[in-house]
């Protein structure tokens, strides 16, 4: 199936983005990336002494993976902090891409909507291509679009919970109301079925980390997530049937008189 898409003019084939944290080893991470078929991996810099290039050997390994590296600002709590880290990451990875995360609540790692919009605005003006990690709030996502975010990444559930999509209505609304934006479900995914569900809703992609990294066999789970992404996307393109409140026989009951058929309906 030829279903290429693009983010900020970069053409991609895979619709699955992967995080790089919490894997048992770098080798397992590499195997998972290969099995997933992903083309985009995200990594956090904040605790690796980026100003002194502390994570250089890890970053080099990531850059050898033949994937686009999407640096993120995980752990930042203010717009200014996120902007500073984004500038360091641009220098380190030679990329204008930045996955913008601004935490407002440390306990469930919920984004701070106010600082997020300020940071997104600042970064877009500095020439960054912002992938904004956000809650599923329509107004917030609209503001992010308005300041120039072409990729918006609403959560399905808080990071690392594996609870899946908690508010399907809101995500459907986002898809319907922001058709011009690339929507990538980010966080909360636990099972391949959650991935398929997001793709069936018409999301453009899914980013996940913990569900793969903490599986007993991360590479195998990565492969499962790849197929779930494909299944959900293909189903979306195929146009699912409409739900019905009553049962409808797939074939007419030709052995029943027509008035009994009518009674059944």
């Amino acid at each position: 199936m030829d279903d290429k898409w693009s983010v900020y003019d970069t053409k991609l084939t895979s619709r699955l983005f992967l995080g790089t944290a919490r894997y048992p080893s770098l080798a397992v991470l590499q195997a998972a990336i290969k099995k997933s078929g992903t083309e985009v991996v995200t990594t956090s810099l904040r605790r690796q002494n980026p100003s002194q290039k502390g994570g250089k050997s890890f970053w080099n390994k990531l850059q050898q993976l033949d994937c686009w590296v999407l640096p993120n600002t995980a752990g930042c709590h203010t717009a200014n902090e996120a902007t500073t880290l984004a500038q360091m990451s641009r220098e380190i990875f030679q990329t204008d891409w930045i996955k913008l995360e601004v935490t407002g609540d440390e306990y469930n790692l919920q984004p701070d909507p106010f600082e997020l919009v300020v940071a997104a605005d600042q970064l877009v003006k500095l020439g960054f291509k912002v992938f904004a990690y956000t809650t599923e709030d329509l107004v917030l996502c609209s503001r992010l679009r308005d300041v120039g975010c072409e990729v918006i990444m609403p959560w399905g559930a808080p990071i690392g919970t594996g609870k899946g999509i908690l508010n399907q209505y809101a995500l459907e609304t986002l898809r319907n109301r922001l058709p011009e934006v690339s929507l990538v479900l980010d966080a909360g995914v636990g099972q391949p079925s959650h991935v398929a569900q997001a793709m069936e809703l018409g999301f453009d992609g899914v980013l996940l980390n913990t569900a793969i990294a903490t599986a007993d066999d991360p590479a195998q789970m990565a492969e499962a997530m790849k197929y779930a992404t494909l299944a959900g996307r293909t189903a979306y393109l195929a146009g699912p049937m409409a739900e019905s409140g009553t049962a409808n026989p797939s074939t007419p009951n030709v052995d029943l008189p027509f008035w009994q058929n009518r009674q059944q309906n």
């Binding site: 080893s25 002494n49 994570g55 050997s57």
Partner: protein, 314 residues
Amino acid sequence: MGRLIGWQCVKKQHQVTLYEKASRNTPQSAAHVAASLLASTSERPESDDAYMAMARSSRDVWRAWCDELSVPYAFDGTLVVAHPVDVSLLEKFETTLRRHRIPEFVKLGGPELQEVEPALASHFRNGILLETEGWLDNRALLEALESRCGNILYEHSVEPEDLSADCVIDCRGAGSTNPEIRAIRGEIIRLFAPEVNFTHPIRLLHPKYRVYIAPRSNHQYVVGATQIESSIECGVTVQGALELLSAAYSVNPGFQDAEITEIATGLRAAFDDNLPRVQWHSSVLEVNGLYRHGYSIGPAIVGQAMEQIQACAN
């Protein structure tokens, strides 16, 4: 690792010179900073069968070595716990142990938990005792090895290729020039907590942190360890300290009055698969990549190295 191999070589009547980059009074090695847990089981979810085999075979060797060197140690088991809100992590941990057919654990409910470790905060309702695990006092070990591992030349930074000897062994850890080695920073805090009486190492499962509390004699504890993909050996960050201390406090509020006796960082050396290597590079035997498992699998790696050294000597 260098001191252990040196010690074994001295016992085989070899003449040993140990080149140490640090000064005698400011040790920098991961071995010095580590909590020295002997974790054969609790690391299994993030390692593999090869690791398990090495950790299991190392246990009896540590008993013998610690007895010989009069180093405090214990194999009373490690207690793995999670806060009630994170109990799913404990269930996952148990599932993983079963999946790998590891029999050496006991599930504990609240009363049993309090019986095994009365010092544990009362809100913990479930735990897993990993019966065969233990700890040793790494500072006592390093001190005991000081006079037994050959002639140590402090503040000598050398390239192994430049040395002339029958056998050159490179145990530089994160200081290695091997491009396949990367450094992973760990941060620990040592506490003196007279009000806390843990007798087992405690591992706290948490969605964000990887925290353990390793007991030492006389109410001393090592709380560790963060794991950061960084080669910068700067001081402990406020965030790292907060993570470790708040985790300790949550496990026993008695830690609030503890005295912080040391706060330190160390660099662990790892290959991509986090498994160690004992391998020749022309005439130099490289022993490296012990990741955070230096103590757990140390004797197994020393054994592998000694086989190579004996072959070289013969």
